[in-house]
């Protein structure tokens, strides 16, 4: 897994180049992404924001290999995602990416621990016990490992999902509105853990959110509108983000 180094010496974990995504037929097509080019740095926490319909989720899905671009390229490391077939995409997701969705992150029949190690087991691998213990402790679930999702609170479920996303030490973790269904306290717990993962383990995280507070945990915020990247902010705070969002007309 070689990493592409940018001239500045910071590695680039993922890139989109001239990405365009059209939905629908040619005559009534909706342009969800309009010639977007953007890089995501390694070991950094990037938030993508924008009003609904801005294309932020589409960008994330295309990056994660869940959706395909109409035109342009997606590179994870130096792998051209747009050239992979379904089987290779599956392996890419299993081995090199992690996911946290807004809700329904866990398989209801499996316990918390089984859910966490699922990506490894699907690949026929065993979890490194030390790493597992470290992640589980960090998300504060050591005493909840043998519970099924139905026995966990929403916040706990999302933290299990976060642990799962990290278990295979993926190149990038994609989070799609991970706090969307959580109360503010649970949100804070989850976001602190994600921040911790970036700072302590050098994890790369790309998160779509519409919550300025959540985005405030990131190193960098991208603002999208009408399928284009219209603004960018480093070292953001919730207040500055809110101002920027107002500027976007939200």
């Amino acid at each position: 897994m070689s990493m592409v180094k940018s001239p500045s010496g910071v590695r680039t974990a993922a890139r989109v180049v001239n990405a365009t995504k059209l939905y629908g037929r040619a005559d009534s097509a909706v342009r969800a992404l309009d010639n977007v080019s953007v890089e995501f740095q390694g070991a950094a926490f990037t938030a993508i924001m924008g009003p609904s319909g801005s294309g932020k989720s589409t960008l994330l899905h295309c990056l994660a290999g869940l959706d395909t671009l109409t035109e342009g390229q997606v590179l994870i490391g130096d792998t051209d995602v747009s050239r992979l077939n379904d089987a290779d995409l599956t392996l890419l997701r299993r081995n090199r990416l992690g996911f946290i969705f807004q809700s329904y992150n866990l398989v209801p029949t499996l316990t918390a621990e089984e859910n966490i190690v699922l990506p490894l087991r699907l690949g026929g691998r065993k979890a490194d016990p030390q790493w597992l213990a470290q992640v589980v402790t960090a998300v504060g679930l050591a005493d909840r490992l043998h519970h099924t999702p139905a026995e966990l609170s929403g916040g706990q479920q999302q933290r299990v999902a976060a642990a799962r996303a990290l278990i295979s030490r993926p190149e990038i973790v994609f989070a799609d509105e991970p706090t969307g269904a959580l109360d503010s306290r649970s949100s804070a717990d989850l976001l602190r853990f994600l921040r911790h993962a970036v700072d302590e383990y050098g994890q790369t995280i790309v998160m779509v959110t519409h919550d300025a507070v959540a985005a405030g945990y990131a190193d960098r915020v991208l603002f999208l509108r009408d399928g284009r990247v219209v603004d960018e902010m480093t070292e953001p705070t919730a207040d500055r983000i809110l101002d920027a969002m107002k500027g976007l007309g939200e």
């Binding site: 899905h61 869940l66 599956t90 992150n105 990506p119 699907l122 799609d176």
Partner: protein
Amino acid sequence: MFGLTLKGLLARKVRLLLTAVSVMLGVAFVTGSLVLTDTVNAAFDQLYAGLTKGTDVSVRSKAAFTDTATMGSPKPFDAKVVDQIRKVDGVAAAEGSLTGFALMLDKSGKPIQPGGAPTLAAGFQTDRELAGGFSMRKGRGPEAPTEVVIDAGTARKQGFTPGDPIKIMFETGGQRQFTVVGIAGFGEADNLAGATLATFQMSTAQELLGRSGQFDTIDVRGKTGIKPDELRSRIARVLPTGLEAVTSETVSSEASKSVSDALSIFTKIFLGFAAVSLLVGSFIIWNTFSILVTQRSREHALLRAIGAGRRQILGSVLAEAVVVGLVASGLGLGVGLAVAGGLRGLMSVIGMELPSASLQLHLRTVVAAFAVGVGITVVAALAPAWKATRTPPIAALRDAATPAKGVSRWRLAVGGLLFVGGVAGLIRAMSADSQVAAAGAGALATFFGLTMLAPVAVRPLVRVLGAPIAGSVTGGMGRLNAARSPRRTASTATALVIGLALVVGITVVASSVKASVGDVVDRANKADLILKSASQFAPGFPSGVADKLRRVPEVGTVSEMRFGVAQIDGATTYVAGVDPATVDRMANLGVESGSLAALGTDGVLVNTDVATLKGLRVGSPFPVKFAQSGDRKLRVAGTFTDKTLVGSSYLVSLDTYNANFSERLDIAVLVGARKGVTTEQVKQAAKAALTEYPNVAISDSAELKKTQNDSVDQLLGMVYVMLLLAVVIALLGVVNTLALSVLERTRELGLLRAVGMTRTQVRSAVRWEAVLIAAVGALLGLGLGLAFGAAFSRSLASIGIVTVAVPIVQPLVCAVIAALAGVVAAIFPARRAAKVDILRAVVTE
């Protein structure tokens, strides 16, 4: 509301079809049996109407009773009666007729034996109008004692043309040679319902059939303008006692009725299979609708929230059931027609020839098909529909995933009681002879008890059965998913249990029958050789065989046996004629009281069980009604225990038999070797002596066992085909359940795919789930089937099952195949599961 239902249904065509198929096959069985019966009846009606054409009144001996088995053998009477009838005012023509047994041989000397239809001899009637549908196609009528007219069917199949020589055998004597001078047809048909017919000059026929100067019937045609009824009563006035005159309408309707009586057994068997597949189908319908109602609880709650009444919810679910039922019935009707056509073909392949007529689809059949199809579907959907009405409106606001409900205490108690009681009944049936009632009630109670308890048993069963595969990630998931909704798995598996339990149970009974046949032959038989008709459809073979054997030096004992139909206490039954002097040397009858010697000309040996039941002892009067000779006062000459070789509970002497029956065909001949002659030697000698009787099969006891076993296997094969259909329906139920479960788990599947599950892994997990569900059904079906089979085998001791043999390999193979068939059932749901659109599954909401 109905519009909504319909729209919903059309959106799910595949599921609708899958659900409908489970009922469709049952409907097809019902339709098929009705159509086939109607078709065959119509064909025979047509045939008999054609045959009696041209005849207004028939004169014949009064029969003491008429029954399917006695048709065509009225007592012959003096031919001079015809002269008296010709003198009756209004009679235009009258001519005697005579029919009997004649077996033609083909050009290579093999008997021409149609399956199920008789081989007939007849006298040629010179009055062409009276001959009815019988018409010359080629050549001319017989004009000399060595000339014969044969039916067009035989001529066509065997390649006979006028001028050819042909050999024919009769009730007495060996082969005789004739010359074919004519070919006759019957209206458009080439033969009489599959029968072969050799027609001779009347006087020749009388001599050949041993009825010189006698007729069976006299056919009469009236002058124009006279009504058949009037003619009938005029003739009746001049008839001697013992004869009657009947209109040809009566004759043909009697004949038709006897055919439909004979067919009714077939219809009943077929309807039995229909019942089995409908029971299986109803489980699948119930299951499907339960799942649908659960999945739609949010939709129903929403409807309730916006003001729909409970009755409207009930109506909408039941309306869906009605549509499914209608589709199922329509398809079943079509398939049933095809099945009827196919079965007619199959029957002629296995040798049962039927007259042809176009398939008869009566309104009654259509009504029955729709009543059964819609009825079963709606009844099976009632409980789920009721459950749907219980959805509280608030459920619309909750997250849909309702946890699987536990099994109620009430259900556990009733199910447990039924199961324990049923098992007790089965054990009772297994530990004592002839407990049919205990076996039947036990089987039913065990099955229904198990059905009620199954949801509780599913989890542990799946856990144990799935243990070997739990190590793999997909196997483990399949195992978890199979136990996820125990009720669903239980009812899906139950459908399989029914089919498999019947297959296994019948296998056990069949192997018991086979083992018994061996034991019976060993125990009851003392003869070296047993002679029977080569064809199971033949009524017997000429007595000339026994005469010939008596002249063979290697043969020591020859004992003939004949079979006839009589009424005893109002019930039609078989009576066997045996030779009192020799039969006990050739067979172990187990005479308990009285003796064979006491049979004389008015004695009956009665089976001990029957005698006990009827309170008979030696010397008791024993009235018997014979078809030809009427009421006879016989007496009980003794009792005997072993009827397995003679095949009847009533034995009379051959003298008594001959006095009351006109047939002289032997059903079997038992042969003992002279002292110092081996079985093999006497067999070779008998074979050499009987070369001109190709219609006789000579077997020693080992060969007899084998032929008996072969016929059991043949029957078993047919039963298997029918029951396997029930298993196939059950597997369709697995397909349906899995397809619905997959649909329900779309989000979960999408998530799994997102975190790295390959399509192959998804398919594998679904496959394991299917195999586990099928394995649960197979295991329970295997257990029930073995218990049912053992219980029923034991309880059927009275019909000759003396040994209960429980085979292990065959049922086990059945069960393993059924479980593995889960793989096939999983193909379609697994493909759907693998195709889940990840993005839509995970992201939407």
